[in-house]
C-alpha cells in the first residue's frame, strides 16, 4: 500500500465510522465502534502497518494522516456518547423527580415584633450620634415619675396622666411608669454630667384595650446634659435624627410652643408628612404634618431635683411613642394590633 492508497483507506474508514456512530443508540454500540475503527483491525491499524513499507520521505505525511483519522473518530464517538448519556440520565431521572415547589421541611425563621424592630432602629440611630442606651424600672415611685420631673401632687399636669397605681407603699406612691422620663431622673441621679442617653421602654396608662387605647405602649426618650447645650442643639439633633429615621433629607420639621412640666421652653415636634410630602392626605389628617412628640430644654427644677447646678448645666430632652411611629409608617389604624399578637401581623414585618 502506497501513501495514496493508505490515505484513501483512512478516508473510507472515517466515512464508515461516522455512519456507525451516528446510528448507534446504546453506549455499548459506541464501544463496539471504538474497537472497530480504532482497534487492532481498524483502518488506522492497517495504515500503521503500511507506513512501515513507505519511504522515509512519505512516513511523516502518512503518520499525520493516521493521527488525523484517530482524532476525528474519537471526537465522533465522544460527541455521540455525550448525547446518549444525557438521554439515559434523563430516562432514569424521571423516576427520581422531586417537586421543589412543595416547600421545604418547614424550618423557617420567625420575626421580631415590629416594635422591637423600630426600637432597635432608633437605638442604633442614637448610638450613631454617640448616645448610650439607658434603662429603668417599669414600676416606679411617685418621685421619679412625677415629683422630680417638676410634677408635684395635684399639679394640673397630672390630670394629663391616667396612672395605674399598685398596692405598694402609701396610697398613690407606687405606679406603673406613665412615660420613660423617670429614666432621665435615674440616669442623672447615678451619673455625673455630661450625659447623652436614650431610654426606650414600655410605659403604661390606665386604659382598657380597644382600637384607640392600650394600657401598655412604648416610648423612647432622649436626654442630653452638658455645659452649654442650647435649644439650637435640641432642634439640630432632632432634625438629624428625623432625616435618618425617614432616610430622607427632604423631610421638614416643625416646632410649636407647648407645655411639659419637665422642660422649659417646651415644644411640640411635627414632621412633614412623608406620604403626601406636605400636600395633605389621610395619614396626616390633611394637615401636611404629623405630630411626632414633645421636646424641650430640661427644666431647672429637674436639675435641682437630681442635684445638678442649673447654672452650670443645660440640657435637652425629647421623646415620642413607638406605636405611633409604626402606625404612621405602615398605616396601622388600631393600637391594639400591637398587643394582640396575631401571627399574621407578626409575620408581616
Amino acid at each position: 500500500m502506497n501513501l495514496a492508497e493508505a490515505q484513501s483507506a483512512l478516508d473510507a474508514g472515517l466515512l464508515e465510522a461516522r455512519s456507525a456512530v451516528e446510528t448507534a443508540t446504546l453506549i455499548d454500540d459506541l464501544e463496539e465502534a471504538s474497537r472497530q475503527f480504532l482497534g487492532k483491525r481498524s483502518p488506522a491499524s492497517a495504515a500503521n502497518e503500511a507506513i512501515k513499507g513507505l519511504s522515509a520521505e512519505e512516513r511523516p505525511a502518512a503518520g499525520q494522516a493516521v493521527g488525523a483519522y484517530r482524532a476525528a473518530v474519537t471526537e465522533l464517538i465522544d460527541a455521540r456518547r455525550g448525547v446518549l448519556q444525557g438521554v439515559a440520565e434523563a430516562a432514569g431521572a424521571e423516576g427520581e423527580r422531586l417537586d421543589l415547589t412543595l416547600g421545604g421541611h418547614g424550618r423557617m425563621r420567625g420575626h421580631l415584633h415590629l416594635i422591637t424592630q423600630i426600637q432597635r432602629e432608633l437605638e442604633d440611630i442614637f448610638v450613631g450620634l454617640g448616645y448610650r442606651v439607658a434603662e429603668g424600672p417599669e414600676v416606679e415611685d411617685d418621685w421619679h415619675n412625677f415629683e422630680a420631673l417638676n410634677i408635684p401632687p395635684a399639679h394640673p399636669a397630672r390630670s394629663m396622666q391616667d396612672t395605674i397605681y399598685v398596692q405598694l407603699g402609701n396610697e398613690e406612691q407606687v405606679l406603673l411608669r406613665t412615660h420613660t422620663s423617670p429614666v432621665q431622673i435615674r440616669t442623672m441621679e447615678t451619673h455625673e454630667p455630661p450625659i447623652y442617653v436614650v431610654a426606650p421602654g414600655r410605659t403604661y396608662r390606665n386604659e382598657t384595650l380597644d382600637a384607640r387605647h392600650s394600657p401598655v405602649f412604648h416610648q423612647i426618650e432622649c436626654l442630653a446634659v452638658d455645659r452649654n447645650l442650647t435649644m439650637a442643639d435640641l432642634f439640630g439633633t432632632i432634625e438629624a435624627f428625623v432625616r435618618q429615621l425617614f432616610n430622607n433629607d427632604s423631610v421638614r420639621t416643625r416646632f410649636r410652643s407647648d407645655f411639659f412640666p419637665y422642660t422649659e421652653p417646651s415644644a411640640e415636634l411635627a414632621v412633614s408628612c412623608v406620604f403626601c410630602h406636605g400636600n395633605g392626605c389621610r395619614v396626616c389628617s390633611h394637615t401636611g404634618w404629623i405630630e411626632l412628640g414633645g421636646c424641650g430644654m430640661v427644666d431647672p427644677n429637674v436639675f435641682v431635683a437630681v442635684g445638678y447646678d442649673p447654672e452650670e448645666w443645660q440640657g435637652f430632652a425629647f421623646g415620642f411613642g413607638l406605636e405611633r411611629l409604626a402606625m404612621i409608617r405602615y398605616g396601622i389604624d388600631e393600637i391594639r394590633t400591637f398587643v394582640e399578637n396575631d401571627v399574621r401581623f407578626l409575620a408581616r414585618y
Binding site: H105, L112, H113, V127, R132, V139, D141, P215, D233
Partner: protein, 794 residues
Amino acid sequence: MRAPLSWIREFTPVDAPVDEIVGALNQLGLEVEGVEEPGREIAGVVVADVLQVLPHPNADKLSLVDINDGTRETRVVCGAPNVVAGMHVPFAPAGATLPGGFTLERRKIRGETSDGMLCSAKELGLGEDHSGILGLDASTVPGTDVREVLGLDDVVFDIAVTPNRPDAMCIVGVARELAAHFGVPLSVPGAEPARDAAYASDISVTIESPDRCPRYLGWSARVAMGPSPAWMQQRLVKAGMRPISNVVDVTNYVLLERNQPLHAFDLGRLPGRGVIVRLAKAKESITTLDGVARSLTNEDLLICDAKSKPQAIAGIMGGSDSEVDETTTEILLEAAYFERMGIARSSKRLKLRSEASARFERGIDPDAVASHAARAMALLVEVAGAGVDSTPIDEHVAPFTRPHISLRTSKVNRLLGTELTDTDVLAALSPLGIDVEGSGDAIVATPPSFRPDLEREVDLVEEVARRVGFASIGRTVPKPQDQIGGLTGAQQERRVAADALVGAGFFEAVTLPLVGPSDLERFGAPTDRVIAVANPLRAEDSALRTQILPGLLRAVATNQARGLADVSLFEIGRVFLAAKKGLLPDEKLHLAGVVAGSIHRSPIEGDRPADVYDAVDAVRVLLDALEIADHALVPGSPPGMHPTRAAMVRVGGTEVGSVGQMSARVCESLGVTGSTVAFELDLGALLDAPRRDRAFVTPSPYPPATIDLAFVVAVVVPAASIESTLRAASGEMLEDVHCFDEFTSDALGDGRRSLAFRLRYRAADRTLKDAEVAALRQVGIDAVIKTHGAELRA
C-alpha cells in the same frame, strides 16, 4: 376653648387672614385644633319684613306670606304656625343656599308660587329648633344679610390651651397674644356699672378659711330674670355654651371673656342674706346644680349661707338650693379667688370638673376679681335691668404681690443658642403685659397678675422663645466628647437571645403585663409576692404578672380563636415580684416561649403535633446563643406543666426556669387547645451566668475512634446523667457523646429502658491505639453500671 374672631376683635384690631392667625396661635403654643366658619354654607339669605299672612287656598296647614326683603315685595308659601305680620324673618329667596349645599328654586306649592322660603333656626344650622320660623330682632333692617344679623359671618377657633396658661383660657387672653404677635394694640375697657341709689346692700361675707380663699367679693343686685339678648346668646353658642337665662348667661359670658368664674346665688334663698366660706365638715353633703348629692370631706371648701348651710362647693359647682331661676328677683354675685391646689384636689376627689374648677385650679387673676365683677354687673344692668348695690363686699387678706424676676440677656442666648439683644428681649416681653426694666444681665421683669406660670428666669426665656419663634433659632448637632455610643453587653445579648429564637422559628410577641390573679395562681405564682393594681379597670388587669407564660398562652388562644392553630411565640419582658425589702418590686427580665398546635412539614414528612422536644430545642438554641457554660435540664414538676413531661433548667447549679408540656387543665382554662409546650427562663440570671471559654483549641487532625454502648436502666434515670457519667469517666479523650436510641419492651421489664450512646474518642497528639480505646470503653461501662445501676446490653 372656642374663641370667635368677632369677640377677639372687640379687644384688638387683628385683621390678618384666618390662616395667618391660625399660624400665629399655633406658634405661640395656643394650638388650634379646628377652625369653624358657621355661616360659610349660607348665601343670599336676608332679613325680610312680614307684610301679611293669608291662608293658602288649597291647604289647611300652609299659608301665603307676603314679605318685603328690602328691595321688593314677594310671596312665599310657608308651613310654620308662628309667622305674623310685622315679624322680621330670615328669607331665602330663589338662588340662595343653605347649610348642606341646598339651593332654593322658585316653585309652585299646591298651586301657589313660592319665591323661596322662610327659615327656621335649624335650617340655618343654628341648633335643633324647627318648631317655627326664626324671629329676628325688630331692629334688623330688611335686606341685610342674615349672617351679619345672626353673627354667622364669623370664624371660631377651637384652641387647646396647655395647663400652664390659665390666662389664655379666655377671649381677652387670646386677643392679648394675637395683639403682641401682630403688633397691634390691645384695649380691654374697664367697666363701672351704674348704681341703684334706691337699693342698699345688707349682705355679709365671712371668710373662715383665708388660706383656701384669699379673696371673696360678694355684690348684690336686683334683677329682672328673662332670656339674654340675641347677641349674647349667639356668642355663648359660638363659644360652646348653652344660653340659660340673662343672669346665668352674664356669669358665663364674663367667664369666657375674662377668665373669671362667677356664681350668682338667689339672694332670696340664701338664709341670713350672706355667705360664709368654710371647710366642709366630715360627712357633710350637698346637692349640686346637676342634681347629684355629693358627700364631702374636711378638705373640701364650701360656700355656705349666713346660717352656715352649704350652698356651693367653692370654685367647682353651685348647689341646687340657691340656684337662680325665673322667680329670682335679687342675687348675690360671687367673684372670688380660690387657692389652686385645694380646688384641684377637691375636683379630683369628687370627680367633678367644671369650667370654673378648670380655671381656678390653673390660677386666675387675683387682682382682677373686682374689675371682672364690675364687668358682670355692667352687663347685668344692660341685659337684666339690674339695680346694682353701691358697694361690693370685697374681702381679702393681703394684697397680691407680683414677683420681680431677674433676667439676663446672656442666659436667654445661652439657653436658646441665639444672639438676641436687650432690645429684642424687651420687645418680646413687653406686649405680653410683662413690665421690664434694666438691661444686659440686670433686667428685672415683673409679670402681670394673670400669669401665675411666670415665676423664674427660665419661664421668661420661654416667653422670649415663643415670641421670636422657634424658626429663628439655629440648628446645631452636639457630639458627646467623652463617650462612644453603644449598647451595653446585656443590651447586646438581649438582641442575641431574641435573634436566636427568631432564627429557630419563633415570633416575638408583646403581651400585657397586667393579668388576672387567677391566671397567676394556675401557674403557681407565689401569691404573697404578687403585686395588685390599686385602681384596675377590669379584674383581668388587676395584678402585675410574675410570669410571662399566662399572657403568652392567652395570645395563643387569641390566634386559635382566629383559626390560626399553630403558633410559636416568645416574649422578652419584665415580671414583677413584691420586694423583700425596699419599696419598688423586684423586676426580673424573663424570656418565655410557647409552641402550640402542629409542626408543619407536610407533605414531605407528615405534620406532627408540637412536642416537648420542640421547647427543649428552643432552650438549647438559646443557651448556645448566649454561650452559657454550665447548664443542665433536671427533672422537675414546675407548676402549670405536665407532671412527668417537664424539667427545670439549671445554670451553674441554680434553677433559672422551666421547660415542658403545658398541663391540659391550664391550657383549657386559658382557652388553648391542642398540644402546647413552653418554657420560661430568668433571662437576667442567664446573662449573669458564666460563659463558655472562648480560648482557641486546635481541632485534632488525628482520626477518631467511634463506639456504641447500650445500657438498660430505670426509666427515671435521665439520659443526660448517663452522658455526664460517661464524660466524667472518659476524660478529655471523649470528644463527643450523645444518645442515639431509646426503647422500652416487655423483655426489658417494667420501668426499665434501653439507651444507646455513640461515643467518639480522639487524642490531640496521636492516633489512639485499639488497646487505649478498649480501656476507655471499659472505664465508661464500669462507671455507668456503678453510678446508675445499669446493665450493659450485649
